[in-house]
Structures are given as C-alpha cells and as structure tokens.
C-alpha cells in the first residue's frame, strides 16, 4: 500500500472494532465444560492415557502451577435479588513474568437439559498487568476465596484438558506449604468458542467417553450438589 493511501486511512475506535467483532461472532466468549475427578492413585494411568490421546504427544503434558483468586461485586441496584458479578484472577506461580488472567464467568446453562452434552457458560478471558488485584479491590470487588492449582494440561484440537490438584491456601504458613482439599485430581475438559458452535460439544462428549470408566466427565451442576460440610 502506498504511504499516501495509508495516510488517508481513517482510524476506527476500539469500540467500533469490538462491536463489529461481536456482530460477526468471532469472539470466543462461550465456554463448553465437562468436569470430573480421578483418585490420586489412578492419576498416572489417566495421564498416560491422555498422553496417548492428545496432541502434545512428543512434548508431553504442559505443567502449570497457578494461584486463583475469586472476586465478586454485588450489584445492589438491579431489582430485588441482587446477582453478584463474579470475576476470577489467575496468575502463574511458576512464570511470574507472565500476564495475569482476569476472567468473567457467567451462569452455567444446560445443566439440566439432557439434549445438551456439556455445560455452556459465557466467559471473557482478559490478559492484564499484575495491578489487577489492586484494581478490582479498589473498584469495590471483594475476594471470596482463593486457591492454588497445580497440574497438567493437554490439548486435543480445540479441546483443553486439565488434570489438577486443588490446594487450600496455607494459614500462617509460607505459600509453599499448602494442603490439598481432596484425595483426587480435578479433571476438566473445556473449549472456548464463539457462541453457537454447539457441534464442539458433541466432540467433547465423545472424547469424554474415551476416558471412561477411568474418569467420568459430566455436567456438574454445583448448585444442586449435596454439600458436604466444607
């Protein structure tokens, strides 16, 4: 392109770009999710099987060690039953220089609907600088809980499979000494896609079937869970 043409090119605002991206539906803002768990004793078998099934065969699984903080901000103005807005901040403990991740997660849909193979929830993933915790806190968000998550990540096409141990933050102890909250690893199979790509859910279901009976990946409706005392 000639520099003169370029000089005449109008700049469009970021909001214009965003709304046109929204209109053409290219923003991956839907998360398709299946969850399950595997006992510590069987995790090696699962990792072995995933290594065989997934794309990153040659390099082996990617490990991660993250710290996740969950924030909420109460929306008092909206009608009678205020629905809190939930935000999550995640940072890599093993790569301190990486951007932090700020994430909005909407209400899960499709938990009770038998015809939908996975949970679908809206999700906005944003990379940010490390000031994000300060930023949210000063905005008026409060931190509800936090945890350490450590584990392995696999990829299969657009699907992401994580096998992770959840640790409670140590009270009065250095962050290295943390206690696991269960004798199992959390297993999650997820895809982030623009809305309306429901075909991927079928792929996920059939992938999940390949992991049976080692791990039962399913739609877990955490609102209807029988609650053990936490």
């Amino acid at each position: 392109m000639d520099s003169k043409d370029w000089a005449q090119m109008p700049v469009c605002t970021a909001m214009d770009t965003l709304s046109s991206a929204l209109k053409s539906n290219i923003i991956p803002n839907q998360e398709y999710l299946l969850q399950g768990s595997v006992l510590d004793s069987a995790v090696e078998v699962l990792l072995h099987r995933l290594r065989g099934l997934c794309d990153n065969v040659d390099t082996g699984p990617e490990t991660f060690h993250d710290h996740e903080m969950c924030f909420s901000i109460l929306n008092v103005e909206s009608g009678t039953s205020p629905q809190p807005l939930l935000l999550r901040v995640r940072r890599a403990l093993d790569y301190q220089d990486m951007p932090w991740q700020l994430r909005y997660i909407g209400q899960p849909e499709g938990t009770g609907d038998k015809s939908r193979p996975t949970i679908v929830r809206s999700s906005i993933d944003i990379g940010t600088t490390s000031a994000v915790v300060d930023f949210l806190t000063e905005m008026g968000c409060r931190m509800d809980f936090e945890y350490i998550v450590r584990g392995y990540m696999f990829r299969k096409g657009r699907m992401k499979i994580t096998v992770s141990k959840i640790f409670k933050m140590g009270q009065g102890k250095p962050p290295e000494s943390v206690e696991p909250i269960s004798q199992s690893y959390l297993v999650e199979l997820s895809v982030l896609a623009p809305s309306g790509q429901d075909a991927i859910a079928e792929d996920m279901k059939s992938f999940a079937d390949q992991l049976r009976p080692l791990v039962i990946l399913d739609k877990v409706d955490y609102k209807r869970l029988p609650m053990p005392i936490g």
Partner: protein
Amino acid sequence: MGVTILHQFPMLENRTGPQTIEFLTKRIVALGAVQMGQFLVDCDSYISMPSLGPQRTVHVLHNSEQPASVFSILETNTKTIPLVADGLFDLLMLKMTPIYTKKVAKIESKGPRFELADFCIKLGSVTISQNFKGVLVEVEYRPCVVPSNCVGLMREFLQGFLGSCVQSLPACLQNKMDEVYQPMDTIQQYLDHFLNFRKMAGYSG
C-alpha cells in the same frame, strides 16, 4: 515505543480547530515530516453507583498506537491504579454497567500522525461528543526510553515548531525521570489533559 511528551497548544481567538491543525501541519512538513496515517486516543469514564461507597471512576482509554491494549485508570479518593489489559476488557466493562455507569461523554483526541527522523508527531483535535475543545500535540522520541536522557532534546524540538508556549514538563513525568517509559505513561498524560478539558467544559468526574 519511546519517551513521549504531550503538550496542549493554545488556541488563538481568530483560528478554528482545523485551521490550527493545518497551521501546525504546514510547520512540521516544512521541517521535513511525512504524514504516516491517522491516530486516535479515546477515553470513556465509568462512575460507580452510590451503593458501592465512596465514588470511584474507571477511565478506559484506547490508543491507536497500541491497538490490542485497553488502558484503564481507576481513580478513588486516595489512589490511582493503572491497569493494562487485552481488548476484551471493554466487553467486561459492558458487563459492569449496572455497577459502573457511563455518565460522562466520550472524549477523544484524533488527527494526523507524522514521522520525522527519530520523532513521531501527532496533532490531535480534542472533542467531547463531537464538540471541538482544543489541540493536543504529542511528540515521541523513539530511540530513547528513559525520560531524563532525552527531555532536554525533546523540549527543544517542541519549542522549535510550537514556539515559546512550551515551558514545563508534564507533571506525571517529573517524578519518574529515570524509570523506563511505558505506554501507560502516555495514557496518563492524555488522561490529565482530558480531565482538564472536561473540567473546563463543566463536566464533573
């Protein structure tokens, strides 16, 4: 990305905004500058609902020079927190709208962008909802990232085509003269000027 100084060019009674921009363009083109596109810096401000306690403001700015980033500056009574994020941060602010609402009009600086050897010059007309408010001249000296090493040179350059109106350095640069200059520092300068324009126009926030 180099050190950047943003300067407000005083308006003369008998000159309109476009005329001022044209006047400055002629001057820098005479110096040998070549136009390389347009630029745009815009700012939306979101104000917290009263139920959230003391009023806080989130200023969300975009700079066409860093098109993939969203710059936010949170202002509370006591502190200012800058945050750089991905483009989708705008989407998140839309989700926040019941809690943080856009009560003031968008303000932006927009105009031609020039290059002259190591300098990048942007002549911006500032508008609040399409109403012209003034002219901001941005000069970036690209080979250097530490302000103390180049502000003298930059001031001289600015004075060279803006005249004697160039005196002091931007406030937010003065206390970080020896730090590495960040894109956020440019944004902070724009925000300072934008807030001034808004104050003059009688907006609060």
